[in-house]
């Protein structure tokens, strides 16, 4: 256990710890470009050079391991001079086109320039011009002039995805990042290189020129693209999500996320239903709760004594645990419905890294709402039950259906034959044309909620912006309707609701302690923030 001194402060660290990590632990931020905690260390940018007592030259903090009795100065005159020189060197051929550059505002080069350099260029010769707006991959655009050749992107493709598309070509001031001949940067995680790029050399084709980063407001949330549920920064401007950025969470996704998930923010704003409708007429929530409840009650009563048995309730694994908990109570207590089914998106691709086959973020959370043995039946069973006429009334959460092709068509036809079809979802997806009652729900971006991923890790989302239009979180909709149906669900505050919900989920997980869901109870809600990274 070597003990060292950094800027006069002592610290004892594990053997093998580098100076940059030890300094971060003490709260000293050492500027760096090429170092990234998730990647190997090439020490090629020379930005993190620090002064070590006894060493004649400055040493790279990212590479040098702490040894016993080491004394490090991270902000001495010599170090600052060196940083200034490094920055000047990097900026020799940099175009300084910050106004155009998407990275401006979160650019390390910009930040360090303001911290250490702030001088005009002394270069009198024309700058070397390199490739601009080079389509290096389907999702990524490369700008050779801005590139500082830190090779983070190259290392990412080598070490994380193992696809090896990128390399450095040419030499000296003509060096550029390129793909190998015949290849392009098209792996499933290619947009992580945009996050990794400390300058604006790699930009996302999707986010390019869309919004300046200083206008974005960031909220800790999750990606709802698959059951992995990667931790993300959800960044929005004026109630419109502009991009997702992975948030460091060693339990789930480390520093990374897939391209499909990253672009899944578009779902949040696609085809949103923003007004509660009954038979096509828009109402306010109090009205729609009253009329909707009356409609449900009438339709159930019209089916005779066994009416409640002909009600089907589809739970969506897209919804949060809170929404599902209240929905289950609403179905059982207010509607008296016992036929429960699971909806959600159909399965898709998967890989051995992050992407999961199950494209729904909260299937585990959904299952935990029900005691073992009473879990909802698969969607295929719903089709069969509808076919046989056992279901006359359908209350559906979420507009996603896990069946495709002919089966989906058949489902739509069967919906037409129902007495009453209530749709509670953020999006219509074509089902809104068939529903008599439409209850617009808000997405996970607009509410607090708990999601349990494929490994049983629970995460909290926060409200990034207010619910769009008149939409409401699922749990509030359930409460409104239940109150009108004469079975009020008493919870009024989400904190109280969450307490109740965890109690219920713990009880449901009890009989099978070996089940993976059991660990949800210990899973921490707030994943630690990116610690060693900048």
């Amino acid at each position: 256990m070597p003990k060292c001194k950094i800027n006069g402060k002592s610290i004892t660290v594990e053997r093998g710890t580098t100076i940059i990590q030890a300094a971060a632990e003490l709260g000293f931020d050492i500027p760096h470009f090429c170092y990234h905690p998730g990647l190997s260390v090439p020490a090629n940018c020379r930005m993190c050079l620090v002064e070590v007592k006894g060493a004649r030259k400055l040493l790279p903090a990212c590479y040098t391991q702490v040894s016993d009795k080491m004394e490090v100065q991270t902000d001495s005159e010599r170090v600052v001079q060196s940083r200034r020189a490094v920055l000047e060197f990097i900026l020799v051929n940099h175009p300084v086109d910050c106004p155009i550059c998407d990275q401006a505002g979160e650019c390390k080069l910009q930040d360090y320039y303001m911290d250490y350099d702030t001088q005009e260029s002394r270069l009198r010769t024309p700058k070397v011009s390199k490739v601009k707006v080079y389509p290096i991959g389907p999702e990524v655009v490369y700008d050779g002039e801005r590139c500082i050749l830190c090779t983070r992107c190259v290392r990412f493709c080598d070490e994380i995805t193992g696809t090896n598309e990128l390399t450095v070509v040419e030499r000296g001031d003509r060096s550029e990042i390129r793909t190998f001949p015949g290849r392009e940067l098209d792996n499933n995680y290619s947009m992580c290189t945009v996050d990794l790029c400390p300058v604006g050399a790699l930009t996302s084709r999707d986010f390019r020129f869309k919004c300046r980063v200083w206008l974005l407001k960031s909220t800790d949330s999750i990606c709802a693209g698959c059951s992995r549920g990667c931790s993300i920064h959800m960044e929005q401007h004026r109630s419109e999500v502009q991009r997702y950025r992975p948030r460091y969470n060693p339990e789930i996704n480390d520093y990374w996320m897939c391209d499909a998930g990253r672009l899944s923010y578009k779902e949040l704003h696609r085809d949103r239903m923003l007004k509660p409708l009954i038979n096509g007429a828009a109402y306010t929530w109090p009205q729609v709760a009253e009329k909707g409840a009356a409609l449900l009650r009438e339709s159930i009563d019209a089916l005779g004594e066994e009416g409640a048995d002909k009600v089907g309730f589809v739970f969506s694994p897209q919804s949060s645990c809170e929404g599902l908990y209240m929905a289950r109570r609403f179905a059982e207590e207010a509607l008296g419905c016992t036929r429960h089914y699971v909806g959600g998106r159909p399965h898709g691709d998967q890989d051995d890294f992050l992407i999961q086959r199950d494209k729904n973020p909260n299937r585990n959370g959904l299952l935990l709402q029900f005691p073992r043995g009473q879990r909802p039946q698969p969607f295929e069973q719903l089709l069969a039950d509808m076919e046989s006429g056992q279901i006359k009334i359908l209350y559906m959460m979420g507009s996603e259906v896990p069946v495709e092709g002919a089966q989906a068509e058949r489902f739509r036809e069967l919906l037409r034959e129902l007495d009453l079809f209530v749709l509670q979802a953020p999006r219509g997806d074509g089902l809104d044309e068939l529903a008599r009652v439409i209850l617009p729900a808000s997405t996970h971006a607009e509410q607090r909620g708990t999601y349990i991923n494929c490994d049983g890790v629970a995460q909290q989302t926060r409200e990034a912006f207010k619910p769009l239009g008149s939409s409401l979180p699922d749990w509030q909709i359930a409460m409104k309707l239940a109150a009108r149906l004469g079975a009020p669900l008493t919870t009024t505050f989400i904190a109280k609701l969450q307490e109740e919900m965890w109690e219920a989920m713990k009880a449901n997980a009890q009989p099978a302690p070996e089940a993976p869901e059991a660990e949800t109870t210990e899973a921490d809600d707030d994943a630690p923030e990116e610690a060693a990274a900048p």
């Binding site: 300084v96 106004p99 155009i100 005009e120 009198r124 601009k132 869309k210 200083w214």
Partner: protein
């Protein structure tokens, strides 16, 4: 030079000041003078300008109208960096950026709208612009009303139309602008 201390005598309040009454009468005299002055000769003594029927004349060097500068080839100089819309305290600049065909230009404003009525003419956009693309020049904003005697006037939608008219779009702003020789990235040129 060392700082000097000057001790000021506190003004003594005499008996009559302390009784307050004469001072009140004096004050009443002042306000009455103003009151009757304003009634007797309103044109001289009342300083209110009844905007928008009356307008205070602007000084000759007043710069109240935005213009967008152009490049040598007549294209808009703005690169849609949003610095102006970010700094704008009135939030009156709306810019939508798009990819330019020429990779050396790269980014340009597809739409650039200034709400002239919302603008408070602070000139911060000019300060913020890194490319000398926006300037404020001689002229004033448009009127918030449409005069009743013009063809444009329509009692019902008059104010709405006046509102729309205040949205100065890119091409309109460029008409007033001309070629700027400033070099991007600072004062020095190669």
């Amino acid at each position: 030079m060392a700082a000097q201390t000057v001790t000021l005598e506190r003004q003594k309040r005499g008996f009559w000041v302390q009784t307050y009454l004469p001072e009140i009468f004096k004050g009443m005299g002042v306000t009455l003078k103003h009151f009757f002055g304003a009634i007797a000769k309103p044109s001289e003594n009342i300083v209110t300008v009844s905007y928008p029927e009356e307008q205070r004349p602007y000084p000759a060097r007043y710069r109240g109208r935005h213009r967008l500068m152009v490049r040598e080839d007549g294209q808009v100089r703005c690169v849609a960096c949003m610095c102006c819309s970010t700094i704008c305290p009135a939030n009156c600049i709306h810019i939508e950026a798009a990819e330019h065909d020429d990779p050396s230009v790269e980014k340009y404003p597809e739409t650039f709208v200034i709400d002239q009525l919302r603008c408070i003419v602070c000139g911060l956009c000019v300060e913020a612009c890194p490319c000398d693309a926006i300037r404020m020049d001689t002229g004033v904003h448009c009127s918030p009303f449409i005069a009743e005697d013009t063809d444009d006037f329509n009692a019902l939608e008059g104010e709405l139309r006046a509102r729309e008219r205040a949205f100065y779009a890119r091409d309109l702003l460029m008409e007033a602008g001309d070629h700027s020789r400033a070099v991007q990235g600072g004062r020095r040129s190669f």
